[in-house]
């Protein structure tokens, strides 16, 4: 299952699918990093609204994406962690693993955050 990646101006938006396997996630990581370079993107939005579970593997992979994306000079925002999933992540102790990553309630908010960060010169122009 391929994750669709949308290009929206200087940003890339990846919408993760329910029932995504581990290899899909790893594939996504590779594609995203390649595209950040190709499009000189300033931000990546990972939309996880559709995920049924955020386990330690998914969390680790998303954190890895955020870290690698930042090494390529762009910011990552995770969008759409649902209430029950946020709660499970905290119970699992995964929240601290994402403490360096920006989160937002929805796409609009995520775009606003990225716009603000870029205005403040916190990402490359």
């Amino acid at each position: 299952m391929n994750t669709s990646i949308l290009k929206q101006g200087p940003y890339l938006i990846a919408i993760l699918q329910a029932g995504q396997s581990d290899s899909d996630l790893l594939q996504l990581q590779e594609t995203l990093l390649e595209q950040v370079g190709r499009f000189r993107s300033r931000g990546v939005i990972l939309d996880v609204t559709l995920l049924d579970v955020m386990d330690s593997f998914a969390t680790r992979t998303l954190r890895g994406i955020a870290q690698a994306v930042s090494l390529r000079g762009a910011e990552t925002v995770i969008v759409g962690i649902r209430p029950e999933i946020a709660f499970a992540m905290v119970q699992l102790g995964l929240d601290t693993r994402l403490s360096g990553v920006l989160t937002a309630l929805d796409l609009e908010e995520a775009l606003a955050i990225l716009n603000r960060r870029c205005r403040e010169g916190m990402c490359r122009d």
Binding site: P83, E84, D95
Partner: protein
């Protein structure tokens, strides 16, 4: 409502209490109640039938001597009916077949005693009186074979203890149901989630935050953040008398979960005692935005949301300052 009551009464007590075939077998095994005992008991059944009436008479004479038990038998007719039922109950002890029907029957009788409010101590006391009375009669009957009397009596003791276990289970079951209902009622004691402004929520928490309510609070808050797209939420715990490490950790988790969703939680109303207690037990709240009272919490939230509070009279001037 009526339908539900019907449904409950058709459900067997065994099922309700969770007594399975295996559980029955376990209880019998633990009491070492087996074939030998059944034979022993069936063997004294004719004797039991003979002493049934005098035992019942003694039994009720004893019960009527005490205020605590007398109150249950004020009415003569009631007394006669209960005597007959009790005689049957005792008679059943020496009839073998301690199967599912037996268990269900015993549970039902236990539940009746519970319902009329007979205390457990009275139930046990009554059974004790019965056993002593029967022991005397058995040893009298088998004067020449005291071994036999003892064997029969010990077997009877096992069945009686099986009965007592079941009866006590019905008492416990009822209490558990009661506790469940009270918890249910407490769950309905809600913490309102108030929307103060666009994307700003306030949760005034009042009363003791035991773990169920704390869990509920978290669920409610996270759910509300999701549905209202709130960016900030103020949890005001001015009305919470005690915050132990469990509750504090729960609050921490809530704050963290809200952050994962993309919202900020501000904790307000930590009294100085609570603040000191938290420090003393080593709860680290440094990752949490806390303010001394609701007012400063609101100001903090508004800053987060990008609001600027300006007195109405100053409007013109502030517009000039920030065109």
């Amino acid at each position: 409502m009526a339908e539900q009551t019907n449904q409950d009464s058709t459900k067997s007590l065994m099922e309700e209490i969770g007594i399975t075939d295996r559980e029955i077998a376990n209880r019998c095994a633990f009491l070492e109640l087996g074939e030998k005992d059944i034979k022993e008991l069936l063997g004294i059944d004719p004797v039991a039938e003979a002493y049934a009436d005098p035992v019942i008479e003694d039994f009720y004479k004893h019960l009527l001597n005490f205020e605590e038990t007398r109150v249950f038998f004020q009415d003569r007719q009631v007394l006669e009916r209960v005597k007959r039922a009790q005689k049957q109950y005792f008679a059943r002890l020496t009839r073998g077949n301690y199967d599912k029907d037996y268990i269900e029957d015993r549970l039902k009788i236990g539940a009746v005693h519970e319902r009329i409010g007979l205390p457990v101590k009275a139930y046990l006391g009554m059974y004790n009186f019965y056993l002593r009375n029967v022991a005397a009669r058995l040893f009298d009957e088998y004067k020449n074979d005291r071994e036999k009397a003892l064997r029969a009596f010990l077997s009877l003791l096992k069945v009686v203890f099986l009965d007592m276990g079941l009866a006590i289970d019905t008492y416990i079951n009822r209490r558990e149901q009661l506790i469940g209902k009270q918890q249910e009622a407490m769950r309905e004691l809600p913490t309102p989630v108030l929307r103060v402004r666009e994307r700003l929520l306030i949760l005034p928490v009042v009363g003791v935050l035991e773990s169920y309510r704390a869990h509920q609070l978290t669920e409610q808050l996270l759910e509300s953040i999701g549905t209202t797209r709130a960016k900030a939420a103020i949890v005001d715990i001015t009305g919470v008398p005690v915050v132990d490490s469990r509750v504090a950790n729960h609050l921490l988790q809530t704050v963290s979960a809200a952050r994962l969703m993309g919202a900020t939680v501000i904790l307000t109303g930590l009294s100085s005692q609570i603040a000191q207690a938290l420090v003393a037990i080593g709860v680290d709240l440094s990752q949490v935005k806390t303010t001394v009272d609701l007012q400063s919490g609101l100001e903090e939230a508004e800053r987060l949301l990008g609001y600027r509070l300006v007195p109405a009279g100053d409007k013109a001037r502030s517009d000039q300052l920030h065109p």
